[in-house]
Point group: C2
Chain length 337, copies 2
Amino acid sequence: MAKASSVKDVAARAGVSLGTVSNVLNRPERVSPDTRARVEQAMRDLGFVRNESARQLRAGRSRTLAYVLLDARNPFFTDVAEGAERAAEGAGLSLFMCHSDNRAARERDYLAHLVEQRVQGILVTPVDPDAAALAEVRRNGTPVVIVDRTRSDDEFCSVAVDDVLGGRLAVEHLIDTGHTRVAFIGGPDSIGQVRDRLEGARRAWSDAGLPEDQLTIVPTASLTVVEGRSAGERVMGISKRRRPTAAFCANDLLALGLLQQLSTSGASVPGDLAIVGYDDIEYASAAAVPLTSVRQPRQELGRRAAELVLDEAEDPDHVHQQVTFTPELIARRSTLG
Amino acid sequence: MAKASSVKDVAARAGVSLGTVSNVLNRPERVSPDTRARVEQAMRDLGFVRNESARQLRAGRSRTLAYVLLDARNPFFTDVAEGAERAAEGAGLSLFMCHSDNRAARERDYLAHLVEQRVQGILVTPVDPDAAALAEVRRNGTPVVIVDRTRSDDEFCSVAVDDVLGGRLAVEHLIDTGHTRVAFIGGPDSIGQVRDRLEGARRAWSDAGLPEDQLTIVPTASLTVVEGRSAGERVMGISKRRRPTAAFCANDLLALGLLQQLSTSGASVPGDLAIVGYDDIEYASAAAVPLTSVRQPRQELGRRAAELVLDEAEDPDHVHQQVTFTPELIARRSTLG
DNA sequence: CGGTCCCGTTGAAACCTTTCAACCCAAGGA
DNA sequence: TCCTTGGGTTGAAAGGTTTCAACGGGACCG
């Protein structure tokens, strides 16, 4: 592996000055066709690869965006990343994904590294949206956009989805399809999203003039398939007369677990219990009974976040915006029969 | 956002030379405590952040690895990434994930960008493992390790899992649990992994002396839940007398679809049909009937790949190795009742 | 034939860090 | 007192690219 060759080597081989080589690279139209051909040939001969560090050093900016995400295994985040990726691609940039794995320390390391790299901008779904580290990153000169979280101050751009509205949509749909006893399944309520979705559910309920005690809360310890199954056992353990006829789950994993539990025990969906999930993950539509679910515009979220971070990077008059997207209810057989 | 400050600014403010600032950064033990304190204070005052491009330019190497993966939504790849990440973290490096989304053009862009960035090494699950682009990357000076694919020549390090053995394990397990009519569900056979798993299944079958026509091939168009359901219909459409009593699915998504189809139609698992999946994804153990599945050491795969690429980067006597990992059968209720 | 203009090319400067030989000075030994 | 030693600090050079003012030469116009 011979030492990488530089513009100087290329220039020498092509018999031109190194300024010309640079012109071939950056403004080929300024160079006469035959000179250009000679330079390009020399590049091929030497296996020349432009050194991005040097270019960046000189240019002061990189050609990269980064998305620091909490959990690469959650399809929600990878979909967001994909949206951001497309936007980056459109702007001629690369998007690097960094997996903080929900660890604040790892997140900090990544952020520091990215700032040192002088990436054009950072999208981040932070472990703690109010962490001082984020302000520090921006103070150090790198634009930051917060994704799927909101910060208590408005010092940052952020993109998120209106979870209160999502909860409302879900429950309004159940009310519209005739249900008057409904369970909300989800938890722990330390998760902001869970709280918001429940809040939306409650508002829809009281707006419809339904009695508060007919909206049952079934708490779960986490948002997983296993918890969904156990919640199912609890719901079905209620005497038929008083049992809810529909359940709104705080996410699709819970809903899938619930669905499994019901079909294992011979109950019918939606006959015995209608189900609404949240997130509309791929498995939701592929379930044994396709799930009604609240869809968030995930790719759009990523795309918009990328646009915002680029605006912050390029527009000196940039004003921070908190963008809220609108979720959408996708009705399927689990509520429609 | 004031222009970022450099070591020179820090030096001026601290009243020392810029060499000293650099020493504080890189060999703090050489600097007297009070000078160091002064310099560090100046850094804080100015919000100094080391410019990684310049450092890299000087040092000739970066502090980064990258993993270019096919599909960020597939938990298999993100688990591999996680293993690589841990290894990178251990070596003081960052790992960037790049999502090629199965598009050769995007993969090419990423590889080019990474080479220009002079990353220390690239892990890649390529769209086409024999693509000339990979050889080009290495020729240009960046170590490359191929993950979960194998190349026809041995010019690269690679890490993969023995799919033939995996297929064998699955079918041996079914034979051991008393089945003499088995279906292999999977396709298309343009996918190398599908071919290998089937090959392993066949070998186990004939080694056990069972008649070839009792191993039924049920082809699918892709490895998805929906295809699994349709395969289920086909299998259950066979007259009871000749119907297989067990199915080995080429991946877990097929197995989950199959399971859904069976439970929807009232068939029992494993009573009417035992099921073995492949990959042991998270949903496999969380399914209505927990799935027996063939587990691949995903994190280990990533970890080893990272080690290999670092070895290639650092050891002048590096020899390319093709590492093959051994899969493991995880028996659960879908075959054991 | 002389003067302009424009195109293509050149060479040096700048970007910021790290490294390393050289230097200074105080302390200790002769 | 002079010399040595060594810790602490310095300043210049190097690394590869981009930019830009300047330059050379050919073509065109008068």
